[in-house]
Symmetry: C2
Subunit: 284 residues, 2 copies
């Protein structure tokens, strides 16, 4: 199989590599877990595809600088060529975007915004990008106008790994009624988010909440607190959620419960599409 280029997404909690032939995926590999960014680590992720002929890599995520300042197009700065000191590799990194007030940044989501816009021409509205952070990105006339990042996913992961709540989070069960009730309670009193977490634990111990009920309440409580704070982003806007799995669906459901319908876009496809936009710009 010939491979023209490598699409690489280097996030805080996982790295994904697509070996590409034009717009087609030849193969895909994923590494779960946080890897420190090093040239050796990068080379090892793609070593299978290396040969004498220099291989272009288009990467987004933690590898690069955060150089673009909004408002700007998501790929305004193109891709930066970075020298890895290895003649088998031509690395091009898509820089992240920053916002001055309130201070915020993204490293990877700019590529997903570009991918989404490539598939949805002239789309205006707000994208909710669900990952280890959740990022609400207001897009207008092809530019990122403003955005806000919440640590919801990272906090949930940390709670599951490190606290007594792990016993309620180690099953995929999620009871919808418990999620809905917690969501609506959290939106009404978002400041109680840290108290509510312990109350769920106490109800689990004392009243025998099921795992699905407890997990539904924890997710509903965290996402509800976030929706309360992100209201200016989703209220009265055209909305799309970019994500995968239960968390992305939870955001879609939570928004629907506020009368704010959102389409769901599959995150890996959108990421690959964004990297492809950058690849095409380099090749022409």
């Amino acid at each position: 199989m010939t491979v023209d280029w490598i699409a690489l997404d280097w996030a805080a909690d996982r790295q994904r590599v697509w070996a590409m032939q034009g717009g087609d995926v030849v193969s895909e590999t994923a590494h779960e877990g946080g890897l420190t960014v090093t040239p050796q680590g990068l080379i090892s992720l793609i070593s299978y595809w290396l040969s004498d002929k220099p291989l272009p890599i288009i990467a987004c995520g933690l590898l690069g600088p955060v150089s673009g300042t909004i408002p700007c197009a998501p790929l305004a700065d193109g891709a930066w060529s970075m020298d890895l000191g290895d003649p088998r590799v031509h690395l091009h990194v898509i820089p992240g975007l920053k916002q001055k007030t309130p201070v915020d940044m993204m490293q990877g989501d700019e590529t997903r915004v570009a991918g989404f816009l490539a598939l949805n021409k002239d789309w205006d509205g707000v994208l909710c990008l669900v990952g280890s952070e959740t990022r609400w990105v207001h897009v207008s006339a092809g530019e990122v106008v403003s955005f806000q990042t919440f640590m919801t996913g990272a906090v949930l992961g940390a709670l599951a790994a490190q606290t007594g709540l792990h016993q309620w989070l180690n099953s995929p069960d999620l009871e919808v009624a418990a999620f809905d009730a917690a969501l609506s309670d959290a939106m009404a009193k978002p400041e109680r988010v840290l108290a509510r977490l312990y109350s769920i634990h106490a109800e689990g111990v004392l009243d025998g909440l099921s795992q699905g009920q407890a997990r539904g309440r924890i997710l509903g409580g965290l996402i509800g607190a976030e929706l309360a704070a992100a209201r200016p982003f989703w209220l009265g806007q055209q909305l799309a959620v970019i994500g995968q799995g239960a968390m992305a669906q939870a955001y879609v459901d939570a928004l629907a419960a506020q009368g704010a319908p959102a389409t769901l876009a599959d995150e890996p496809r959108i990421t690959r599409q964004g990297l492809q936009v950058a690849w095409r710009a380099l090749s022409t």
Copy 2:
């Protein structure tokens, strides 16, 4: 050295053992980290002191049931005798307290409340107990009237262990001005707590916040969100913070900034005092 009894505090993140002669501490050992509660684990913590003569142990924390329902005196149910199947040990466990609405519980703090009241006769007001959880306990006429638990400490620990924020939390530096500003911002907009955490990270990366500034903001942001939600507990009340180290001092400072002065009581001393109250009740 003769030892009359053992005082034991078994918390989620540490276990402490005091070998006691009446009211005097003969020796003290501490184990940091979460241990699963087992008879073997308990025996191993106190094995040095075991002999043919049965040794009384007075314990609080995760070992026992949660049997008392408030309003009640902190040690209303006394201490439960539990059989470890080892003739060298007489184990007495102080049961935890629960609250029906909103559902909440404590396992260990009831003993600290008793210890504080033993040292401060006829004290009425609100105790803020700072640990892996923070618990606000309203005490009146010797009884626990109501309480509320926040997962602030556990969330902070989980963020430090598991997320990108660890780089700002692995130093003891804390800039007071940054703490104060974040506290006041968080109290005004507590619902933004999960967004603010990422914003601090972005400012650290983009604007070169110092570790002391970033840590000050993270603590100020979390404690501010908690104070906003716990306002009914501390507003216009006589206050005491029971804790240790920088976190306890941060609560005292945060309350002082709201015009709510609190005395600071040293947690290990208060815990030991509470266990001693239970020991005396058993011995008479």
